[in-house]
Symmetry: C2
Subunit: 229 residues, 2 copies
């Protein structure tokens, strides 16, 4: 399948690589292709995008709009604070009718560490809902936003894959197709918890404050939640 | 030990009963003792407090202030929306120097179901922190607010007790004493996750939105989180 991955950071890179390995065609979308390739800075200890791109030449690279046009499914892996703007650049008409998988979190680093959630996008609203409101014809499916990206594409690395991932969205067919994609990554049906419509994004984005504290206690992101009942 | 339990609801009843069984002396605190005993209404399918009290005569009953005066440790098991007022009635001087275990959540039911968190007490603040600010001489320890009360006092009912409870607060000695009390209930040291100072209450209170959604999916409160890593 042709898949658009918006965002050139860790999350975008990790998903793009896995999707290629699974036999999909992928175009990563970015704000400015030339600027992205020229970037020399190291973020979170990772090499510049261009170095990663050298070793992953099967991945195509384009603007947000080119990538979203290319993909039958669009994955929003941009920084939460920039997601709405990135999706605007992808274009409302481009996104209309497509499944838009939203992995982002509205993290606000401006008030110190650990981050809080952005004003207006927490508690009684969420980034997932806001995206659905601003792009009403896209089929927004919120998932994967409660874990480290390494785990998204390799759930089996912990406890035989027995830990959870939430999924929410207004379109049941879209959620079913996203589940199929997640199963390609090794996710088991019983661990994909359907929380209902996109308003559940306010619950899954609210997991971030505890996730970030646990990251501080555990020391790395290779952990996830499991439910005992 | 003499323990004060503020609040006559499910959580207060469940803890008071368990503490008595464990050999402690307990006084439940309420706003108005006569009104509490005269109450005939059924809440959450439970019988009126007076019926429960008939079967648990070892528990003492007093005002918030009488109860907080009685207890060496005070447990806030009141409704989160009323907690600050209840603690005011208990009295700042009464609480000074005491360990104040806060189990409450600032749930706001006024905006429909599922509840959100009260304005001013979420994201960049929390009820736990607000209590510590308003009662600076109390040693506030936030714990148990991320689970159903039946599980607080009987962790072994699920997966041999292998699931988690968070603990936070500014006073390390107070946290250590609270941990000892939780161990009496069957909690294991390795499952009591110390998240640091009381600002972590904003993270554990933020668990409520996902907890409430999971309650809807699972159908009852007998579940909890476990961390796989």
């Amino acid at each position: 399948m042709k898949i658009s991955v918006l965002g050139t950071g860790d999350v975008g890179q990790t998903l793009a690589k896995k999707l290629i390995e699974s036999g999909h065609e992928v175009m990563i979308g970015t704000r400015d292709v030339d600027e992205t390739l020229a970037r020399k800075s190291i973020r979170h200890g990772n090499p510049p995008f261009s170095e990663w791109y050298e070793s992953n030449k099967d991945v195509k690279l384009g603007t947000f709009q080119e990538s979203a046009t290319f993909g039958e499914i669009v994955i929003n892996a941009t920084n939460g604070a920039n997601s709405l703007n990135a999706l605007d650049l992808a274009g409302e008409e481009t996104l209309a009718g497509k499944i838009l998988i939203d992995l982002s979190n509205p993290l606000d680093y401006s008030k110190g560490m650990p981050p809080s959630l952005l004003e207006g996008l927490n508690n009684t609203n969420s980034l997932g809902e806001e995206i659905q409101k601003e792009f009403p014809q896209a089929k927004v499916v919120k998932t994967f936003n409660t874990m480290w990206c390494g785990l998204m594409v390799n759930p089996g690395m912990l406890d035989g894959g027995n830990h959870i991932n939430y999924i929410s969205g207004n379109d049941n067919n879209a959620k079913a197709r996203v589940k199929d994609l997640l199963k390609e990554f090794g996710w088991k049906e019983e661990n994909l918890i359907d929380l209902g419509d996109i308003s559940a994004a306010r619950a899954t984005e609210s997991v971030l404050p505890i996730w970030v504290r646990l990251l501080g206690v555990i020391g790395n992101g290779a952990f996830n939640f499991k439910i005992v009942k």
